[in-house]
Symmetry: C2
Subunit: 298 residues, 2 copies
């Protein structure tokens, strides 16, 4: 729990490779912001030292509570925080913050776990979802593109279900080595090839089959090698849309206004109405404000 008297808070989205930190005041204004590569892997276990250095950089004294989200709460992070079940409303995150043992004022946001259709987990995205709710995103589907994209169905302030897709990781792996790498070199985005990848995804064949199909198209001279990168991108992203049943009438919000978010918005056109695209920074700030204000009502 954030102390009720706190009028400022340091929020840190602390992931595996990077972290983003924001100093917010109760009204929601962002007083300072910092981003660096001191993710979980770079810190080498000294999270307290790393946080102290961050406070110094941002000129935030020790009295200001810090709320951290992301992989910092995983087994390899500062302290493992058990997952919440998705029955717990997002608004209740404020009362489920886990204090870091021995470090007063240091709190970690718990992630969520679900056990429908196998097991799925999130850490960090729950905070963004809280921010999305605060920004007026209602019932519908929220997509969080990334190395591990999340598709979340929101219903009445709760996560009804969610699914993770290793889209970004698979794309990077396939481009880095193996059969497809030779034809997945950096190139211009190709709308037609992206659409062809989406059309292939709609067939619902396993990715292990459709990915080989990208190479088969090239060696059978049905597709120029320069189009393979966009085809694979469309195939992997289209697979998410197909699996999630996104269709006409779907209320889709994409959380991320960067280049990757733009790819998802481009894919969405093939399935449903134009999605709302939210800025990830704005969403995270809204979440922090929510957590800080929520502390007043407890």
């Amino acid at each position: 729990m954030i102390p009720a008297h706190a009028d400022k808070m340091l929020g840190v989205d602390w992931g595996t490779s990077n972290r983003r930190a924001y100093l917010v005041e109760r009204g929601g204004r962002c007083l300072a912001r910092h981003e660096d590569g001191q993710g979980m892997l770079a810190v080498g276990g000294d999270f307290a030292g790393s946080l102290a250095a961050l406070r110094q950089t941002m000129r935030v004294d020790d009295a200001v509570p810090v709320v951290m989200s992301g992989m910092i709460g995983s087994a390899g992070g500062w302290q493992e925080v058990p997952y919440l079940d998705i029955a717990t409303p997002l608004a209740a995150l404020a009362s489920h913050l886990a204090p870091v043992a021995g470090h007063p004022g240091c709190l970690i946001v718990p992630g969520y776990c679900t056990r429908a259709d196998g097991v799925d987990v999130m850490r960090g995205e729950e905070t963004q979802l809280l921010g999305a709710l605060a920004l007026g995103v209602g019932d519908g589907t929220v997509v969080l593109p990334g190395t591990h994209s999340k598709w979340v169905q929101l219903r009445g302030g709760r996560i009804a279900r969610f699914a993770t897709f290793m889209t970004g990781e698979l794309f990077a792996m396939l481009a880095a080595g193996g059969t497809l790498a030779a034809i997945m070199g950096p190139g211009e985005d190709d709308d037609d090839a992206f659409a062809a990848g989406i059309a292939q995804a709609r067939l619902g064949l396993p990715l292990s089959q459709s990915l080989f199909g990208a190479r088969a198209r090239v060696v059978a001279k049905d597709m120029a090698p320069s189009k393979a990168r966009s085809f694979v991108s469309g195939l992997l992203i289209g697979t998410e849309f197909t699996a999630s049943g996104a269709g006409p009438g779907a209320r889709l919000s994409i959380l991320g206004s960067n280049a990757l978010g733009a790819h998802y918005a481009r894919a969405a056109r093939h399935f449903c109405e134009a999605p709302a695209v939210l800025d990830a920074d704005a969403v995270y700030l809204a979440a922090l404000t929510q957590l800080l204000q929520g502390s007043q009502h407890e």
Copy 2:
């Protein structure tokens, strides 16, 4: 076309990384056999020189015709040989051998291409399928496990359809780096985890989702990390079975009596009757004999 007077033939299964060579006589007896790492990538473009060295090693003189199959007939091989459509019967391969320009007595077996459900191609497997037919494999499904596994439906001596799955390549990639690598270290085969992977495959979710689920099971403490390798193996192989609609009553032949073939035979138990398992060497020899004998009837 193999000269009708030839009473011996050198057959080379010439792949990307390796090659296997057999000297066969018309009756089907194998007179010599050689295997080495002089695949397409190692040869550096000098296929004629590499073949001459192979002849020397195996003491096969220049008068003996050589029939080559596999990636040697691809764009990066000795000479690109156009794919046959699957309407062409396997028995007709003998009359579609492509002579290598400027190298009399050097022939390449063409691969097959299909354009159902996207595009798919094979090079090398067609020769093995010819051998399987010769060994009595009739209508039904032939599985050729490997880096790129093939599932082939045979009907009346023709390929009715086929599908390729990048199963072996994906497994190796995932084990080598990224999110799953840490939990996919070498370990004992675990039957229960393999079966759990197959059960997950049956749900028909995209692999990009189910693969993340392997990690989610571990971090949510639903599965011991030591089981992840077998789970992923069951998931990827089970995906092939599920996509291919293998069910009770299916006539399945697995082409490969090695450790990988055993994994597929183990998976088959979850779907259908015990498959026939054929030895890849025996199958290739049968194919060469078939090509050599076929030349007599032309």
